[in-house]
């Protein structure tokens, strides 16, 4: 409720659309595809820096970095979604996201090509994701939305980070 109220305030400032259903997303690019995450889940945006590798984990878990004293894992979203690999450059961006189950919050960084925009989305305009076939697993995708003729895939942050636990159980 509170979140919605907050969103509403921001939206009122920017847009005059259907205010009750507006949600803001941070959109970013992976190759030619555009994704969005709930902006309230974004803690910060950083540039890529070398990570410390963690042994014997899936390749998309790039490693951990020191984020002001806490150890934060970094995931490569391109590799997570089985997209072609990209070289890390000075423009490569890490979006630090928060996920919270009821008693514990975690933070985690995801590597993306670039951050594009903050988009405001009317909830009623979100379409459910069609079956993408095998290339991209659509389990993390909440829905699709069209912004200025571009399609943006909205990601479910909790599901993205929850996957961790599943992998953990598999291994142990």
């Amino acid at each position: 409720m509170e979140q919605e109220a907050e969103n509403k305030d921001i939206d009122q400032y920017h847009y005059s659309r259907n205010l009750d259903n507006a949600v803001q997303y941070l959109s970013f690019a992976l190759g030619k595809e555009e994704y969005g995450v709930d902006i309230l889940r974004v803690q910060e945006i950083r540039s890529w820096e070398p990570v410390s590798r963690i042994p014997n984990v899936p390749c998309y878990e790039k490693g951990v970095v020191n984020l002001r004293g806490s150890i934060v894992p970094i995931l490569d979203l391109r590799e997570r979604f089985n997209l072609s690999k990209a070289e890390y450059t000075a423009l490569t961006v890490v979006v630090v996201l928060q996920t919270g189950d009821s008693n514990k919050t975690r933070i985690m960084g995801v590597v993306v090509d670039s951050v594009s925009d903050v988009i405001s989305v009317d909830k009623t305009e979100i379409q459910s994701a069609p079956d993408f076939g095998t290339k991209v697993s659509n389990e993390f995708i909440n829905g699709l939305v069209s912004v200025n003729e571009r399609m943006v895939m909205l990601l479910d942050v909790d599901k993205l980070l929850k996957l961790e636990e599943l992998v953990d159980q598999d291994e142990s």
Binding site: I54, V65, N66, S70, V72, E164
Partner: protein
């Protein structure tokens, strides 16, 4: 309407538990028959403050219960009752009962009425028992600080017990003006003085107290009827005490008539300011106690205890810190600030001739940082007596259950260790001590037959040794029987018949799951679970456990633990481009080797021969899939001989980098557990290095 008392609850409970511990240890040191008034006083004080506090907070169940205890203790203190073992046992039982009640209240659960009633009955039985030395003529003091009594000022309890004594003394009606407190006078101080003259009884009149919202805390709306009982008190003495407040109150001093009428009394021996503050405000809601049918109660009890442990886990913990430690810390911070500003000055207009100054400043900063770190760590340090203090009770209870005579000696209780260690070491220690009590120490008759004194001794000893704390449990019991251990192990199929084991390895057998030599399973020990858990717990704390035993003479179990769980001494090693930290404590030695010195075993594993012993080799590059760095370098490398799970093995790394203290950071906070890694740390350059979990690595590599 009421002040939010719950904010003080935490402190209250902490104090209560401290009080209970003091009472417990006092009761255990009481000598039978002999009255050591100092000890009884300590116990009494504990009971009294719990009673006062719980009354204040409206936990009337606790207050009522403690009151009965207090009566008993009071009689003991005055020598009207002999200190007998049954009485002490009942008191110990009541301490447990109180603890249960308080825990229940703390967790906002219902107090288990049936057990309270049982203990209460036991107490009353002792109280009314024939062991009273002289029939108590004196009335039982009713020190109910129960605010209900204060506020309503209704004579209820005491009317039945009339004061039929010839009392000499004074009756004082003390009615201060509203601004008494503003003149800096504190009635409590006056009462304290009065109490020194004779026995003081106070009745508080609170009918003038306005509603809470009109209440001005600086105004004194209360008046008192005081009664001082005692011989040889002159009116002048009393007037002198009230000298200071003469202009600020109305008062009337009358000598006490003989055989005074029973008056509704609320006897505040020392009226504590807290109690008065509360009496100004409406009573906090007393804790509701619902009575349950007995059958249900039992069920609820077991459930409660489950919930309780769960709640205890979730409870935020607090710590009491010596003010000295905080002062040191503040000093240290001051030093750091000074150094920082000095360096700032140097940096502002830097020229090369200031290099010396800069270096000095940096050296200073380094020293201060280290000191600061030390003192911050010190705050988390608690004396091990926090754990040890529970054991006299345990030994007392179990030894009487087993009909053994056992003395527990505590040595080095003031040895300080990290709070986390203190919390986690308790269960393993309880287990080990139970073992010693049950299996170690023989029955008195057997001891005499073996030519030992009838009374067995268990010594619990703690001391520091080289950045570690060592806790030893030494008993002079029967010791471990090597042959019996071996045959048992073979019987259970834990080892092969022809295995040759060293003495140490034989003793280690008792740490194997499912191993027990006890002929009989008792409710104290002997099920063969436990020792493996003990060892696992201790290892998870980064410690290890050793046994030395001599048949017929006794057993010594030594636990080595790191002083803190937050910092560790590490050896950084390079594997490819990556840096890992090996805990220094697990390193035995490091050897430069070349590929040829390793022996292949069955084409898969590798061993290294170290002084006639073949040790398994773990290639870090392989186990961690490291591909970076110069591969030719792996032709030669450094073998780090480490000990994990009580066994030696070798880690093959590329290079040793250096030793340093590292701050342990959790990987699990944002990530998850990684096999072979116990945590992470941040190196000087800001990058993250993983800390190796040596026992975990050994397990991982054998899979």
């Amino acid at each position: 309407m009421s002040i939010d008392m719950s904010q003080f609850h935490q402190v209250f409970f902490e104090e209560c538990f401290e009080g209970l511990e003091a009472m417990e240890s006092g009761l255990l040191t009481l000598d039978m028959g002999d009255i050591d008034s100092e000890i009884i006083n300590t116990i009494f004080r504990g009971a009294h403050s719990i009673k006062g506090g719980s009354g204040t907070f409206g936990f009337t169940v606790v207050a009522d219960y403690t009151h009965i205890m207090e009566t008993l203790l009071d009689e003991m203190r005055d020598g009207r009752r002999k200190v007998t073992q049954p009485a002490v046992d009942v008191l110990l039982g009541s301490v447990d009962c109180l603890r249960e009640m308080l825990t229940a209240i703390q967790n906002e659960q219902d107090v288990n009425n049936s057990s309270v009633a049982k203990h209460k009955a036991a107490l009353e039985a002792v109280l009314n028992g024939s062991s009273v030395a002289e029939a108590p003529v004196l009335p039982i003091e009713h020190e109910a600080v129960n605010e209900k009594t204060i506020i309503d000022n209704i004579p209820h309890v005491d009317e039945e017990e009339s004061f039929e004594l010839d009392e000499q003394g004074w009756k004082i009606a003390f009615c201060p003006y509203l601004d008494l407190l503003k003149t800096g006078n504190d009635p409590v101080r006056l009462f304290r003085e009065l109490n020194e003259l004779g026995e003081l009884t106070t009745i508080v009149n609170v009918q003038d107290v306005p509603g809470f919202y009109e209440l001005d805390p600086e105004e004194c709306n209360i008046s008192w009827d005081l009664k001082v009982v005692g011989n040889d008190i002159s009116g002048d003495d009393i007037k002198e005490i009230f000298n200071w407040v003469e202009g600020d109150c109305e008062m009337d001093i009358q000598p006490l008539a003989k055989t005074s009428k029973p008056s509704p009394t609320v006897n505040n021996v020392i009226p504590e300011p807290v109690a008065i503050a509360v009496s100004n405000s409406p009573a906090p809601k007393p804790v509701e106690v619902k009575s349950k049918p007995n059958a249900e109660a039992k069920k609820a009890e077991s459930q409660d205890s489950d919930n309780e442990t769960a709640k205890n886990m979730a409870k935020a913990s607090s710590i009491r810190v010596d003010t000295d430690k905080i002062d040191t810390l503040i000093n240290m911070v001051g030093e750091v600030v000074i150094t920082q500003s000095m360096l700032g000055l140097v940096g502002e207009n830097f020229s090369m001739d200031k290099v010396g100054q800069l270096k000095r400043g940096l050296a200073q900063l380094e020293r201060h940082t280290r000191d600061l770190q030390q003192s911050v760590m010190n705050i988390r340090m608690l004396p091990i007596s926090f754990v040890f203090s529970r054991f006299p009770r345990l030994v007392h209870d179990i030894s009487s259950k087993l009909d053994k005579k056992i003395v527990l000696k505590l040595v080095g209780e003031n040895t300080e260790v990290d709070k986390a260690v203190v919390e986690l070491i308790n269960d393993p220690l309880v287990h080990l001590i139970r073992n010693s009590l049950d299996h170690g120490i023989e029955m008195p008759a057997d001891r005499v037959a073996a030519g030992k004194s009838e009374t067995g001794t268990i010594e619990l000893k703690a001391y520091h040794r080289g950045g570690h704390i060592v806790i030893e449990i030494i008993d002079d019991g029967r010791g471990l029987d090597k042959d019996k251990l071996l045959s048992k192990a073979i019987e259970k199929g834990l080892i092969e018949e022809n295995n040759l084991l060293t003495e140490k390895q034989i003793f280690e057998l008792i740490f194997m799951p499912g191993f027990s030599t006890a002929e009989q399973i008792t409710d104290i020990s002997g099920r063969g679970v436990g020792m493996d858990v003990v060892r696992r717990n201790i290892q998870s704390l980064g410690g290890n456990i050793e046994i030395v035993s001599e048949l017929g003479k006794g057993t010594t179990i030594a636990i080595h633990l790191p002083l803190t769980l937050a910092i560790l001494d590490g050896q950084s090693v390079a594997v490819g481009d990556e840096t890992y930290i090996v805990p220094l404590v697990s390193i035995i030695e490091s050897i430069n080797i070349t590929e040829r010195m390793l022996n292949k075993v069955a084409g898969k594993g590798e061993t290294f021969r170290l002084r006639n012993e073949y040790l398994p080799v773990i290639r870090m590059r392989k186990i961690f899939n490291v591909h970076s760095g110069n591969p030719t370098k792996s032709k030669e490398g450094v073998l780090v001989v480490v000990e994990g799970q009580g066994e030696l093995c070798c880690l093959l790394v590329d290079e040793l980098l250096g030793q340093q203290q590292v701050v342990i950071k959790s990987l699990e906070a944002n990530y998850r557990r990684v096999e072979g890694v116990s945590g992470a740390t941040i190196l000087g350059d800001g990058s993250v290095a993983l800390i190796l979990d040596v026992p975990g690595l050994v397990r991982f590599s054998t899979r």
